[in-house]
C-alpha cells in the first residue's frame, strides 16, 4: 500500500483548518494544545534573560527572570514586620482583585442577561435602551471613573461600580444578539405544540442563547480584568493593580513584571474556565 501510494500521483487536497474543526465537532474537544504556548513562553523568558544579561541593564529597569522569581518568593514569605510585598502576601493582592472582579462582573451578569433578553424580545425596550447601551459600551470605563470616585469615594464601592458598568453592556449586547439569532423554526416548533410566550422563552430562547451569554461573559471578564488593574491605581492596595502601580514608586520593575505575569495568568485561567462552561452549555454549537 505504501509502495503503491508513493508511486501514484495524488488527486484533491485537504485543508487542515476544516479537518480540525470537523474532528473537534465530532469529538467535542478543543483543538488547541497547551504545549505550544509553553514552548513559546520558555523561549520568550530565555530571550528576555539574554537581553538583560547582554545589555547589562540596571535591574531597576530590566530585571532578569531570576530577580522576578526572587520577587515572587518575597511576595509569598514574611520578612520580619512586613508580610509579602507592600505589606500583603501575593494571594491577598490576588484575592482582592479577584473579589472585586467577581462582584462587579456578578452584578453585570445579573443585570446584563435580563436586559439582553428584554432588548431581544421586547421591541419597546430595544427602542428605548438599545441606543443608550451602545453609548455606554463605547465609553472607556476609566473615562467615567473620576465621577464614580467623586460619588462613591475611593473605596471598593467605586471600583465595583466601575466593573459593573464596564461589564453589563457587553453581556446585554451578546445576549440580545443571541436572541436575534434564535431559529424561527425552533420557535414555531414549540408554538405549534401549544407553548405560550413564556414557555417559548424557557424552552427555546434561553437554551438557544446560553452559549451567546457565555461568550458575552467571557468578553466582559477579560474587559473587567484590564479595567480593575487600571482602577486599582487609585487606593488599590492590596490588589494586583495597586501592586503593579506602587512598584514604580519603589523603583521595583521586578514587582511590576511579577504583577503583570500573575494578572495575565489569572485572566487566562478564568477565560479557560468560562470557555469550558461555554462548551458545556452549548455542546451542540456548530453541529446542529
Amino acid at each position: 500500500m505504501t509502495l503503491l501510494s508513493s508511486t501514484v500521483p495524488t488527486e484533491g487536497r485537504r485543508v487542515g483548518w476544516i479537518d480540525r474543526r470537523l474532528k473537534a465537532a465530532e469529538t467535542g474537544a478543543g483543538t488547541r494544545r497547551w504545549y505550544g504556548g509553553l514552548l513559546v513562553g520558555v523561549t520568550a523568558i530565555a530571550l528576555w534573560w539574554l537581553v538583560a544579561l547582554v545589555t547589562r541593564a540596571p535591574s531597576m529597569l530590566l530585571p532578569t527572570p531570576l530577580k522576578v522569581a526572587q520577587a515572587f518568593w518575597e511576595s509569598v514569605t514574611s520578612h520580619g514586620s512586613r508580610d509579602g510585598l507592600l505589606g500583603s502576601y501575593l494571594w491577598v493582592h490576588l484575592w482582592n482583585s479577584f473579589r472585586r472582579v467577581l462582584e462587579g462582573l456578578g452584578l453585570g451578569v445579573l443585570v446584563g442577561i435580563p436586559l439582553g433578553l428584554a432588548l431581544g424580545l421586547v421591541r419597546a425596550v430595544d427602542w428605548a435602551f438599545g441606543p443608550i447601551l451602545e453609548f455606554i459600551r463605547a465609553l472607556p470605563p476609566l473615562g467615567y471613573y473620576p465621577l464614580l470616585i467623586l460619588w462613591f469615594g475611593i473605596g471598593d464601592t467605586s471600583k465595583i461600580w466601575l466593573l459593573f458598568l464596564a461589564s453589563f453592556a457587553p453581556i446585554a449586547v451578546a445576549t440580545a444578539a443571541g436572541v436575534a439569532g434564535v431559529r424561527n423554526e425552533r420557535v414555531n416548533a414549540v408554538l405549534v405544540l401549544g407553548a405560550g410566550r413564556f414557555e417559548m422563552v424557557r424552552l427555546v430562547v434561553l437554551p438557544s442563547v446560553a452559549g451567546d451569554i457565555m461568550t458575552g461573559i467571557r468578553l466582559s471578564s477579560s474587559f473587567a480584568w484590564t479595567t480593575i488593574v487600571a482602577a486599582e491605581t487609585v487606593n488599590g492596595l492590596p490588589g494586583l493593580g495597586g501592586l503593579a502601580w506602587a512598584s514604580q514608586k519603589e523603583l521595583r520593575a521586578d514587582i511590576a513584571i511579577l504583577s503583570i505575569i500573575v494578572i495575565g495568568l489569572v485572566a487566562v485561567a478564568s477565560d479557560g474556565l468560562l470557555r469550558a462552561l461555554e462548551r458545556r452549555v452549548a455542546p451542540w454549537k456548530g453541529r446542529a
Partner: protein, 278 residues
C-alpha cells in the same frame, strides 16, 4: 387515542407577500377547501405555487391576507396544539434535548404528569421505531431518524390535524419508502386528519385519500380528486406495482407537467382526464 371530529374549512384563504422595495407576490389565490376529519389530503403543484404558505396558514404560523381557516367551527388565529406540524427542515428539533426530550415537549407543555409523560413518549418512539435511540442527541441521528423524531414529537401532542411539508423530500428512496409506509400505518392507527405537501405524484397517489392539485403561482385549486388506493389492505410495495396506481400517478404527473405551458386550457382538460382514471 381520541377520535378527532373537527373538520378543517378553508374559506377563501389567500396570501400575498409584500416585501419592501419589491412588487407584491400573490403566492396563493383565494382558495376554499373543506377537509373532513380523518382524510389524508395530498397537496401537489409546482415549486413556488404556495403550498408551504397554505400549510403555514393552517398551522397558524402565518396569518392569511384574505379569508380564514376554521377548525371544528373555530377560526384559527395562531399556532396551537390541535394542529401538529412536521417541518421540512429537521433543524426544528431542539438540539439541546435528546430524542425523547424533543418528543416530550408537547406533553410537557400540556403539563402531563411525569410518569404518564414517560409512557406517552415511549409509546410514540416505539411507533416510529426509535425506542432504542431515546437518549441520543438529535444531531447524532440520520436525516430519516430526525424526521421520525419530528413525527413522534407531533403525535405525542395528540393533535387533531397533522400538517407535513415535504417531510421526506431530503431522504433517499429506500428510507423514504420506509417512512411512507410508517406514515400510512400511523394515519390508519390514529385516524388523524393529514394535510401533506409533496412534490412526488407517486407519494400522493399511494398515501392520500384526496389529491389537491394547485396551479403555478398564484396557487389555485385546479383539480381535487378522491382516491382510495391507500385504504387497500396491501403493502405500499404491492400498491406501487398496481396498474391503477401507476396510471393515476402518470395522469397526475402529466397534469402537473402541462401546467407549465398553459394554465387556463389545461385546467378543464386535466380535470377530465384525472376524473376518468381511478
Amino acid at each position: 387515542m381520541t377520535q378527532p371530529v373537527a373538520d378543517l374549512v378553508l374559506d377563501q384563504v389567500g396570501h400575498t407577500y409584500r416585501t419592501a422595495g419589491a412588487p407584491p407576490v400573490e403566492a396563493l389565490a383565494p382558495t376554499s377547501l373543506t377537509i373532513s376529519a380523518g382524510e389524508f389530503v395530498a397537496l401537489v403543484g409546482h415549486s413556488g405555487c404556495g403550498k408551504s404558505t397554505l400549510l403555514e396558514i393552517v398551522a397558524g404560523l402565518r396569518p392569511p391576507t384574505t379569508g380564514r381557516v376554521l377548525l371544528g367551527g373555530a377560526e384559527i388565529v395562531g399556532p396551537g396544539r390541535r394542529r401538529g406540524v412536521v417541518f421540512q427542515q429537521s433543524s426544528s428539533l431542539l438540539p439541546w434535548r435528546t430524542v425523547a426530550g424533543n418528543v416530550a415537549l408537547g406533553p410537557e407543555i400540556q403539563k402531563v404528569p411525569a410518569a404518564e409523560r414517560a409512557a406517552l413518549v415511549a409509546r410514540e418512539l416505539e411507533r416510529v421505531g426509535l425506542a432504542e435511540f431515546a437518549d441520543r442527541k438529535v444531531y447524532e441521528l440520520s436525516g430519516g431518524m430526525q424526521q421520525r423524531t419530528q413525527i413522534a414529537r407531533a403525535l405525542a401532542a395528540d393533535p387533531d390535524v397533522l400538517l407535513l411539508d415535504e417531510p421526506f423530500s431530503a431522504l433517499d428512496t429506500f428510507t423514504r419508502e420506509l417512512l411512507q409506509e410508517e406514515l400510512r400505518r400511523i394515519w390508519k392507527e390514529t385516524g388523524k386528519t393529514v394535510l401533506f405537501v409533496t412534490h412526488s405524484v407517486e407519494e400522493a397517489t399511494l398515501l392520500a385519500t384526496r389529491v389537491v392539485l394547485f396551479s403555478p403561482r398564484p396557487g389555485r385549486v385546479i383539480s381535487d380528486e378522491r382516491i382510495d388506493f391507500t385504504r387497500r389492505d396491501v403493502s405500499l410495495k404491492e400498491l406501487r406495482a398496481d396498474p391503477a396506481v401507476v396510471a393515476f400517478a402518470a395522469a397526475l404527473r402529466e397534469a402537473i407537467g402541462d401546467l407549465t405551458a398553459d394554465v387556463a386550457p389545461g385546467v378543464t382538460k386535466h380535470r377530465h382526464r384525472l376524473r376518468g382514471r381511478p
